[in-house]
């Protein structure tokens, strides 16, 4: 585990890298990617995409997206995502949440593919050339993202970190090759006391740690939509 300044942490990600994002969105890392003008990223939204994915698409950083859907929560459609797919600028690998999560589970466990229940009868089975059927079950290839960008609450100087239990970031971290984690603060004893709904991620999983404050996704979404409406009114 290395503790780096935000620009140096993000500089580890080259153009054309596969970058997975979980929840809550690591918006500090995302904005730094945009500032550094990263291009041709293959994004993964775990299990769906939110404001972080929308910002990267809007800024022209992405060439493809693998996710189970993109929206802005109660604000509905993600406009840049919709336009990018309609214009052909963004290549999409559509999945469905349980299949994407089981693909990550397979990646985390080092197996090449996993059966997934359901799915048969969906056009995803014919549109996704990488899906198969074996003994009446859909077969989905494992997902092992090159980079995971994760926002944690805090970490101790050894790199053990605290995240919420609410989302799927633990699985994303276990499945990814390189984990870049931003935290609100690094301090001794950060993992000693856990609040309700918190869990520890061991330092062994974390490659790069940097400090960037977490942002409320709802507030960030509202600011983004407001800025669009100012410029398109």
């Amino acid at each position: 585990m290395e503790l780096l300044a935000l620009p140096d942490a993000v500089a580890r990600i080259p153009d054309g890298a596969t970058v997975a994002l979980g929840r809550p969105p690591a918006l500090g890392l995302v904005r730094e990617l945009i500032r550094q003008g990263r291009r041709d990223l293959d994004l993964v939204g775990v299990p769906t995409g939110d404001i972080a994915i929308e910002l990267l698409i809007a800024a022209g950083c992405a060439r493809s997206l693998h996710s189970s859907g993109v929206d802005l929560g109660e604000h509905g459609q993600a406009p840049a995502f919709g336009r990018a797919v309609e214009s052909g600028a963004l290549r999409v690998t559509d999945s469905t949440c349980p299949a994407l999560l089981m693909a990550l589970q397979a990646g985390a466990s080092g197996i090449p593919w996993t059966p997934v229940p359901g799915l048969l009868g969906s056009d995803l089975m014919t549109r996704r050339r990488d899906l198969r059927v074996l003994e009446g079950l859909a077969i989905v290839p494992a997902l092992r993202p090159q980079f995971a960008l994760v926002q944690a609450r805090r970490a101790d100087p050894q790199g053990d970190a605290v995240i919420a239990t609410t989302y799927d970031d633990r699985l994303l971290i276990q499945a990814s090759s390189t984990v870049i984690m931003s935290v609100d603060e690094v301090r001794p004893g950060a993992t000693d006391v856990l609040a309700r709904g918190e869990q520890v991620i061991p330092a062994a999983y974390i490659d790069v740690l940097t400090v960037a404050p977490s942002e409320d996704a709802g507030a960030a979404t509202e600011r983004y939509l407001e800025s669009i409406s100012v410029h398109t009114r």
Binding site: T48, S68, E86, P117, G118, L119
Partner: protein, 219 residues
């Protein structure tokens, strides 16, 4: 719609509500507050009562193990065979309009015992003969819209009840295929005084903990 959904839920059922589903959540909470006190509600990410949950994968794993009895799905388009489209209008490879995507539907629709479909727009463009893209297919319990309750038999949605102010003719005219009408078709009873009191009081307050904007808009 919330009252119709509530009446279809049974006491003791384990009910899941996904993202962007404020009306189903109203229906579930209304059922819980009236005839179904032992109904349990689960959301990928926790409950409005603050129950802890370990990520959305835990929710989907529970569903895959048969521990969710009822779930709600919608679609930009829903067709005669109750298939839903959450992806595109037009050709998938070159869409005229792109929408959010499948979320959990492609797995959940075929495996959850009772799927209740809902659609806030009942029109020929929303309820179509055949969807442009099949995001998910399955055998639903019913489809609830502002105009009607459609149940599913012999591979097809059919009209079971029309809302107050509607008729068999008005619902058929708003549907994008020649809609089969059940012989026992009837008018849906309007929400009772008790249902309205619960919807406007405790149900509204709880829905607002998850859907702040929806609650504000329906205050």
């Amino acid at each position: 719609m919330a009252a119709v959904i509530s009446r279809r839920l049974r006491d003791g059922e384990r009910v899941g509500v996904g993202v962007n589903s404020p009306i189903p959540m109203q229906g579930v909470l209304l059922a819980q507050a009236s005839h179904a006190p032992h109904l349990s509600l689960r959301l990928p990410g926790g409950s409005p009562d603050g129950e802890l949950f370990l990520g959305s994968k835990e929710f989907f794993d529970m569903a895959q193990r048969g521990r969710i009895d009822v779930f709600f799905l919608s679609g930009v388009q829903i067709d005669r065979r109750a298939r839903i489209n959450l992806h595109v209008l037009g050709d998938y490879a070159h869409p005229r309009r792109r929408f959010a995507g499948a979320f959990g539907s492609a797995v959940l629709y075929p495996i959850i015992p009772r799927v209740i479909l809902f659609r806030t727009e009942h029109s020929p463009r929303a309820l179509v003969d055949a969807v442009d893209f099949v995001s998910a297919a399955g055998t639903p319990d019913c489809l609830v819209t502002p105009k009607a309750l459609l149940t599913f038999a012999d591979g097809e949605l059919e009209l079971a009840a029309y809302s107050p102010g509607e008729s068999v003719e008005s619902v058929c005219a708003a549907t994008g295929w020649p809609l089969r009408v059940r012989p026992d078709v009837r008018e849906t009873p309007a929400p009772s005084a008790d249902e309205l009191r619960l919807l406007r009081g405790p149900v509204h307050e709880k829905v607002g903990r998850v859907y702040r904007r929806y609650a504000a808009a329906t205050a």
